[in-house]
Symmetry: C2
Subunit: 456 residues, 2 copies
């Protein structure tokens, strides 16, 4: 194998980075399970027709068997680009064996054929929660999604995060109210505000979505409204647009902002610029900013979807929110926002004095492991100084010396804290490291609350 | 979306099946980390040239971007078919930032374009451990792999498992000793013994691998040797073949069988039929049978490889063993060898008497979650009987009634064990379920040790 080259868009973590990612995933799983979400996984592939529709269809990866037999039908499979579309398909396929409303979390890789020069990943890990009903789904779950994600984000060693919420009914009703006929086109244009600015969006709204100059201006004004509470309602009303769907959306968005902030003060803002590029959302939509690191984009997004899982007879409306694990990890690592105590699970290196006594060292290791202490036995019977340096390079805090092999204390084992040099007698059936040393720890390195955006 | 159809070879689990899989993965991770293996993940794709070589190359899935631009170079990527080849590439790519010997575990999906009619999966999950050295790797790790996997298998709710070990040096030395020139060809033929039988393998050995009738017979005799200890050495010697590499292999295999059985009695047998189809192994090879369920094939396989990770200047020899998680889960589910206490994480359903009091129920849930008790709030304020049935259908053992909403006890909350009907006063800041009810449990349904093969 020649020296390999990295593949742009397919990041891989070094061991210390993986400790950070695993920690985030463990906390996510814990929070999701505490809230009664069960775990599911779906296959990585979907029939291509399931992946089409929506702007994202152009970015999927298509599969073929390298040595498909002549005349073998091409199954037309692609890698999934999110976890919502596969989950909706899974619900349809297994509905008879599922209990609704179904609460599930799903932590898997997804793939998108994005241009890597945009700094986007082609393979990344998402951690999703969704609640799906059979025929109907109560609105209160749209509050719940924000509360659960906010609870999770607050437990992670990351800068403060704020969930920005909007509502598709509000936006669509408003667009209808100003005379738009192509509301999806308006939404797509508004979604580009951050990228291309208000002037060019106004041109798009007039030229492509067919709005009048005044209507386009109002749509852009709508998108500028952002409040930490329900006062956005008055600001929208002041624009003088009347529409029943708009009213419904205003009520729902006010309820989400008030409800989520009642449970978790300051967790949610109404932000009427939030559009979400995917076109399957029908109600509440979520994005999430890391305060001080807004330029990295949303780290947690989702929304309500009423028509994604439907076989024509029965529909399964849902609402979900997704944590962008890979994006978050890349920010934490790339900007040095966290550090780890060590990259290996071992709290102890059991020294070996000579190969003949390796079984004695293995016995010590087994005794420690039986009591939940991760350890490894030194790979070679080098001089003890070299074995201590071996532990030190890995961040393993303790080195264990089986007693029979030591001249100074021929009877008993000793254990050395190589950070302090302290060495004490120890019994492998009783000794334990301090709880902080038991497993690798992840620290936030953010020392002040005044986090500011760094140049990237 | 039309009613979807299942994709052959891409199995998906129902929630209860996922509880079983997650339990296996949790135990695997725990055992691996106790033994000092750190976690890594590699990208799902590799350059196709990295995936070629070896018999398996024909079965890879190749990727392309659906809307690749005209003239865009095809990056030539395929999905990985195992976790060893990607790990070897990762080691080469990151060697300067890794500490050796590197102990890592890796739990990921792999993909093979197998014919689904063979009952094989096209997507499945593996849990691998490997130790890789820089330039050299001590032999004792070949014993260690068997010990760690045996330790893991003994902790799982599965039938007894026996690791069958062979050695490529032994086999290759023996084949050279009987006059073979194409030892890979002999190995490939011997690998087919289980599928096509001794007579047809003999034909292959003579016709394709060019062996004499006597040499072919000896190779088949060699493959019939199977002992629970080092007595295989005498049986091989009795065949009268002389070769230095054979001697080395005999010594190594005897050391693995004796060493592993000294730590874990009865865990390992020498089985000289084990060949392993992949051609990168150079020393010890492992397969694993579930006693009574031999027909399902190996549930854990691996081996020593000296030449997989090498850039020409430096080599990184390794040894690894992989647990076939999907295969094992499909056996456990398909043959009803395990059952689960429930499919949802929630130990408690918090009842809701009317939508206005939902926040009071959410408060109870928050108090329970703060103390590590998984719960969910009833999705709708139905009659309590209906809410209890809702919990019952999910296997949630407890229903919590916030006190202010109950006529009988207007002051205090109560909690009901819906299995017994017992209902007692409770305080959400103090009450906890019995430890056995806290999380879903997985039980072995194997009641006798005399497990017998079922017809499939």
């Amino acid at each position: 194998m020649a020296k390999p080259t990295r593949l742009s868009g397919f990041p891989e973590l070094l061991p210390s980075g993986r400790v950070i990612e695993q920690y985030l995933l463990d906390v996510a799983r814990q929070v999701f399970e505490l809230h009664g979400f069960l775990s599911l996984e779906t296959r990585a592939v979907e029939p291509i027709e399931n992946l089409q529709g929506g702007e994202i269809a152009k970015e999927i990866y298509v599969l073929r068997r390298m040595h498909a037999a002549d005349g073998e039908a091409d199954p037309g499979l692609g890698l999934h680009f999110d976890l919502t579309v596969p989950f909706a398909r899974y619900v349809l396929e297994n509905s008879a064996q599922l209990e609704f409303p179904l609460r599930r979390y799903q932590i898997q890789k997804v793939w998108r054929g994005e241009r890597p020069q945009d700094g986007r990943f082609r393979e990344f890990t998402q951690a999703d929660i969704d609640v799906v009903g059979s025929g109907a789904l109560a609105f209160h779950h749209e509050i719940e999604m924000a509360v659960v994600m906010s609870t999770l984000l607050a437990k992670l060693p990351i800068p403060p995060a704020i969930i920005q919420v909007n509502n598709r009914k509000l936006a669509e009703g408003f667009y209808l109210g100003v005379g738009a006929t192509d509301t999806q086109g308006v939404l797509r244009a508004i979604d580009k505000l951050d990228k291309i600015g208000a002037d060019r969006v106004r041109v798009l709204l007039e030229a492509e979505a067919g709005l009048t100059r005044e209507a386009a201006a109002k749509c852009i004004q709508l998108a500028s409204i952002k409040t930490p509470d329900a006062t956005f309602v008055d600001q929208v009303r002041a624009l003088g647009v009347q529409n029943d769907l708009l009213d419904e959306g205003l009520n729902e968005l006010a309820a989400v902002v008030a409800g989520a902030n009642a449970e978790r003060p300051g967790s949610v803002v109404a932000d009427l610029r939030i559009a979400r590029g995917l076109d399957y959302y029908t109600g509440t939509v979520y994005e999430t900013q890391l305060v001080g690191f807004e330029s990295v984009g949303s780290i947690s997004s989702g929304g309500r979807y009423d028509n994604l899982a439907s076989d024509g007879k029965q529909s399964y409306p849902g609402v979900g929110i997704s944590l962008g694990v890979s994006r978050l990890v890349s920010v934490l690592i790339g900007r040095d926002l966290v550090s780890v105590s060590r990259a290996v699970p071992s709290a102890v290196l059991v020294a070996v004095s000579d190969e003949a006594s390796r079984p004695a060292s293995e016995l010590v290791a087994r005794q420690l492991r039986n009591r939940g202490i991760s350890c490894e036995v030194a790979p070679s019977a080098d001089k003890f100084g070299k074995q201590i340096r071996f532990a030190d390079r890995r961040g393993i805090p303790f080195v264990w010396f089986p007693g029979a092999v030591q001249r100074e204390s021929p009877e008993g084992d000793t254990v050395k804290d190589i950070r302090t040099g302290d060495q004490v007698p120890a019994d492998a059936t009783k000794w334990a490291p301090p709880i902080d040393d038991l497993t690798p720890r992840v620290f936030s390195t953010i020392v002040t609350t005044a986090v500011s955006e760094e140049s990237s």
